[in-house]
């Protein structure tokens, strides 16, 4: 017998309890501390900060713990917290030229002023599972410190080295540091979108999505071949300038990865050919995201460069409307919510259409039979 489904409230509360139980796992295993996540899963932490658009390592670690290691869930938790925070100041643009460098490499020059600084990287490791980590037998290696510190004003490959010869396009340099910058968390996105908005969207965008789009530009879905001019990773100071002070104060350091690509050149019979640029900037050490972002940034400059839009990465509406994983996961997963009212409408229509077809067929059959009966009579 049908009993209307009641008691959803109790079921939900119990589901939440079960979720908490599953998060904790086997109680014979020590509970993970957020400080352990913060220290030892630091790349998860920085991804959550980057796509959660909130630089707070402790909160990101908490979000990862609460989200049971599901990083999109953690990003969602960060976003929902971030949205409630008041804005008390806007920072000055950070100066990545003055970054305290931990890693800096260029793929366009074998050696260059400032040198190739490898820093912490997976790049040349052999991906062999290290079973000593599992056996808790880790003997942490301590890295040697270089004899001399890195160049304090590490030259930028694109601005200081390539641009010296005029080989790379000039970036329109905002003359005023205080010029307004678009913020898609405070204003609905309008198209066509300017580059500041596009870059913000990519910086928050899902790493996997931006990676796949960047990859697609390398496989012919946009013709903007790229070299990595420079990647730098390290910490920069964040400064704000309170109105009542009139000068900037340092409020702390953040870690950033910056990537500048040197792309396919442009020129004509009358104009000197020049390389073009793509730009990526992301919290923490995340070169995959920074490079992908630079590739997609360059691809989305198609309109500005007068290029034909032939791939999805060049289509700013397509990219920007689908890059946000919190939006995407919400909308994709919402189809598991009840839809029986709408489905009922479809059921009713399909049944009616089927009935009409059957009725028509039956009528046609009857007419055929009628014809068959009347034919012999007509022959008589």
């Amino acid at each position: 017998m049908y009993v209307a489904v009641k008691g959803g409230e109790r079921a939900i509360n119990n589901a939440h309890r079960l979720l908490a139980e599953k998060r904790r796992g086997d109680r014979d295993v020590a509970e993970i501390e957020t400080s352990q996540i913060e220290q030892q899963l630091s790349l998860s932490v920085t991804r959550v900060m980057a796509e959660g658009s909130l630089y707070d390592r402790d909160l990101a670690a908490l979000a990862i713990k609460q989200g049971r290691g599901d990083l999109i869930e953690a990003i969602f938790l960060m976003r929902a917290y971030r949205t409630t925070l008041p804005r008390f100041a806007f920072s000055k643009p950070v100066k990545t030229a003055e970054m305290d460098i931990a890693r800096r490499i260029s793929a366009t020059f074998k050696d260059l002023p400032g040198g190739q600084i490898l820093g912490p990287t997976f790049d040349y490791t052999h991906r062999l599972l290290d079973f000593t980590l599992m056996a808790n037998g880790e003997e942490p290696a301590t890295a040697h410190t270089a004899d001399h510190p890195v160049d304090e004003t590490m030259p930028r490959v694109l601005d200081d080295l390539l641009n010296y010869e005029g080989l790379i396009q000039d970036e329109p340099n905002p003359t005023n540091d205080d010029a307004p910058v678009a913020d898609l968390t405070r204003e609905a996105v309008k198209f066509p979108a300017d580059r500041d908005l596009r870059l913000q969207n990519l910086a928050r965008g899902d790493e996997g999505f931006v990676l796949a789009l960047g990859y697609s530009t390398q496989r012919g879905y946009a013709n903007s071949h790229a070299f990595v001019g420079e990647i730098r990773y390290g910490s920069v100071a964040v400064e704000i300038e309170p109105e009542e002070l009139g000068f900037a104060i340092d409020i702390g350091d953040i870690e950033l990865t910056e990537c500048e690509t040197v792309n396919k050149f442009k020129g004509s019979k009358t104009k000197l050919p020049q390389f073009t640029r793509g730009y990526g900037l992301v919290f923490g050490q995340n070169e995959r995201k920074a490079i992908s972002m630079a590739l997609v940034d360059r691809a989305m400059r198609a309109r500005e460069m007068g290029e034909q839009v032939m791939g999805p990465a060049q289509d700013e509406e397509f990219v920007m409307e689908h890059s946000d994983n919190v939006q995407a996961t919400g909308f994709v997963e919402h189809i598991k919510l009840p839809h029986y009212v709408d489905f009922q409408g479809e059921l009713e229509l399909v049944r009616r259409m089927r009935a009409e077809v059957l009725e028509r067929l039956a009528k046609a059959d009857a007419a055929d039979a009628e014809n068959a009966r009347s034919q012999p009579e007509a022959a008589e």
């Binding site: 079921a11 509360n13 919510l337 839809h339 059921l347």
Partner: protein, 309 residues
């Protein structure tokens, strides 16, 4: 009521009344005023990230948060029902963050947030109906680009929509849209009524209550002020018509409400029951009975429901 486990909203009063900060509410109210001034026009607004996922009604929640006051009484329905999980969750959210009274009775609510239905009971001037909208753009599936669809609305260029409806008729013999059936608002804007079944479209026309629509992910708000003309698109020779059922509600015997189909077993037995739970229970309280009501032995004839009326 049982305690919700580990709910941070409960643990701290770090959140403003109805969750959103006052600056954000002001921004949403400005968008709402514009929407009311231009019925059916989609107003972009700076939708915020909410603590529930996109697709779960973040637009509706933001609109409700912007219009709700401490004296309001809130009703939340999903698929017409107060007891579906998402309706329960949103109702709890406002009960916690705004400490407002909640109700399941349509008549007692001052604000009704809904997903996919309009209550069967006629709404009054002192009520607000807030719709959760997934895709606010009625032309989206004809033209994916926002730049294009905004132009089409600006130029009142709705030919494409009529062509689509015409193609439905030539292909299926019917307009094959059963929900989110497009409407013309005040003879100007084509609007998506949100995925309510077309059964509900006529209720929107000249409704006494204020109707507000919030699309969180798409960051759009639109509105129908009270007593606005809302016409479902159709053709003279193929007039708009709503769904109808051969059956009545198995519980209350209603023949005028939207019915959900409930599968009873694996032998093809099914019954129909009102999607609007409040409407159905009110009728049952008033003594109306359908053929499958638990007071009644299964399989009694339909006339039982009629006899109770």
């Amino acid at each position: 009521m049982e305690q919700t486990v580990n709910n941070p909203l409960e643990a701290s009063s770090a959140y403003n009344f109805a969750y959103l900060d006052e600056q954000t509410k002001r921004m949403i109210r400005r968008a709402l005023l514009k929407a009311v001034a231009i019925p059916g026009y989609q107003v972009p607004f700076a939708g915020r990230e909410m603590p529930m996922p996109y697709g779960w009604g973040t637009g509706g929640v933001q609109v409700t948060a912007a219009v709700i006051g401490p004296d309001d009484t809130l009703k939340v329905i999903d698929q017409g029902a107060d007891d579906t999980t998402n309706a329960v969750s949103i109702r709890q959210f406002f009960a916690k963050t705004a400490n407002v009274a909640t109700t399941e009775k349509t008549a007692e609510a001052s604000i009704i947030q809904t997903r996919h239905r309009i209550p069967e009971k006629e709404l009054r001037e002192d009520q607000i109906l807030v719709y959760q909208v997934p895709i606010p753009e009625p032309l989206r599936f004809l033209e994916p680009r926002e730049t294009e669809t905004r132009k089409m609305h600006a130029l009142e260029e709705y030919g494409l929509m009529h062509v689509k409806l015409y193609e439905d008729i030539s292909r299926h013999g019917h307009i094959a849209t059963t929900y989110a059936y497009p409407v013309m608002v005040d003879d100007r804007y084509v609007m998506d009524p949100s995925p309510t079944p077309k059964f509900d479209n006529p209720k929107m026309d000249m409704m006494a209550a204020l109707q507000l629509f919030g699309a969180g992910r798409e960051k759009r708000i639109y509105a129908l002020p009270p007593y606005t003309k809302v016409k479902s698109l159709d053709f003279e020779d193929h007039p708009f018509e709503v769904q109808s059922w051969k059956d009545e509600c198995g519980m209350c015997g209603a023949t005028d409400s939207y019915l959900d189909e409930v599968i009873l077993d694996d032998k093809g037995n099914r019954m129909f029951v009102c999607s609007d739970t409040d409407y159905c229970s009110e009728r049952q309280d008033a003594g109306h009975r359908g053929p499958q009501h638990h007071d009644q032995p299964l399989g009694t004839s339909h006339s039982n429901g009629k006899a109770a009326e």
